[in-house]
């Protein structure tokens, strides 16, 4: 929750910086092209003109490549954001289904979710406007329904799901 917006805005800052760089490059090139066209009319065969024309075509190519690179960066950024959203949505769905399987009450679901997000008893009580004793009792009931020993195992239940699905498959793939 805390790391992701930072990641997103860092990516956006990078795209903005690249765009500004591309703009400065285009500005320079357009001025340079204007200068070269002026030279072309004045002295088309001079060494000065030929050299400047070469430099200008390099600048134009640079802009083209820069634009392509920027497009790739922007598309990569979007793909990452989308993948992150999908993963987050999938995890939320898994948690939801599991809570249902454990027959948690709506209040217990809220408390369970907050506990998964790493909030302690005092914080959960503050957020829900409930007494700390109430939250502690709710947590105990959640752990009992889930058949886990405590908060660490409760959190590990979902993480282990993610890891457990990944490890054997990659091992099997490596064996092939």
């Amino acid at each position: 929750m805390s790391a992701e917006p930072g990641l997103r805005s860092a990516g956006r800052r990078q795209a903005v910086a690249l765009s500004i760089f591309l703009l400065v490059q285009t500005l320079g090139t357009v001025f340079f092209v204007g200068d070269v066209i002026g030279d072309l009319r004045a002295e088309p065969t001079s060494f000065h003109f030929i050299f400047e024309a070469l430099v200008t075509s390099a600048l134009v190519l640079g802009i083209l490549f820069g634009a392509f690179a920027l497009r790739r960066t922007i598309e990569l950024l979007r793909a990452q954001e989308q993948a992150l959203d999908v993963a987050r949505g999938a995890l939320a769905e898994v948690i939801d289904r599991q809570f249902e399987a454990w027959a948690l009450t709506p209040a217990e679901r809220d408390v369970g979710l907050l506990a998964l997000k790493g909030l302690d008893v005092a914080e959960i009580a503050g957020l829900r406007g409930a007494a700390q004793g109430t939250v502690r009792a709710q947590l105990t009931r959640i752990y009992a329904k889930a058949g886990v020993s405590g908060r660490a195992q409760f959190a590990a239940f979902f993480v282990e799901d993610l890891l457990g699905a990944g490890v054997p498959k990659t091992a099997a793939e490596a064996a092939q």
Partner: protein, 217 residues
């Protein structure tokens, strides 16, 4: 792929995404506001023919080149293929707007697309006639000439004057330059009004995506 109601690309049935971007990419935003500010200040603030005016004109030219290039190589919603000029689709869209039923498009809506092409065409005319008027002189040359005249060397003026038919061409260019510049201001007013009306009709802030996107809580 075939959309039943319209062949306009990205009309929802065919599109992967069903709404315009929540934030336009940086190139679109920078060129949009860069051109807006430069055109307004050239039309309203500074004197035609001054070094500032010519410099801003060249900057607009660069911004326009970059945006048109971006229309070929940019991300999907910035590309021309996402919003081809289609007057019939634009009329259909305006009719929908009047009846209050508006659809979402992954890029500009057909009417907005026509506005963008009108802007670009007019900007091309304004910059091209501006170049004819200055004889293609870069801002650096204009500044040099002005400095030379100011220091008493009037030969720069003679160079500017040129031959008879060239000054006739320059006069015609001046005429077109002024008409097209006024057209730009009219288009800008229509554009702002269009954004306002569409935002009301769609119940969505269409300005935010062109600035910094929706502010998240």
């Amino acid at each position: 792929m075939a959309a039943p109601r319209s062949s306009y690309p990205g009309a929802i049935p065919a599109g992967r995404r069903d709404a315009p971007p929540s934030l336009w990419d940086p190139v679109v935003r920078i060129t949009h506001w860069g051109i807006a500010v430069s055109v307004l200040s050239n039309a309203l603030l500074n004197r035609g023919g001054s070094v500032t005016h010519v410099t801003l004109g060249w900057i607009v030219m660069a911004l326009l080149v970059l945006r048109l290039l971006w229309g070929l190589v940019g991300p999907d919603e910035a590309r021309f293929s996402a919003f081809p000029p289609n007057p019939l689709a634009a009329l259909a869209h305006l009719r929908e707007l009047v009846t209050g039923r508006v659809r979402d498009y992954p890029s500009h809506n057909p009417a907005g697309a026509l506005m963008a092409y009108a802007f670009w065409a007019t900007l091309l005319v304004v910059t091209a006639t501006g170049l004819v008027m200055t004889g293609g002189a870069t801002p650096m040359q204009v500044a040099n000439d002005k400095a030379a005249v100011a220091s008493g060397d009037w030969s720069a003026l003679i160079r500017e004057g040129g031959e008879e038919d060239e000054s006739e061409l320059s006069d015609a260019a001046k005429e077109v330059h002024e008409v097209a510049a006024n057209l730009l201001l009219i288009l800008a007013a229509l554009h702002v009004a269009g954004v306002f009306v569409e935002s009301r009709a769609m119940r969505r802030n269409l300005v935010a995506p062109m600035v910094l996107g929706e502010r998240k809580k």
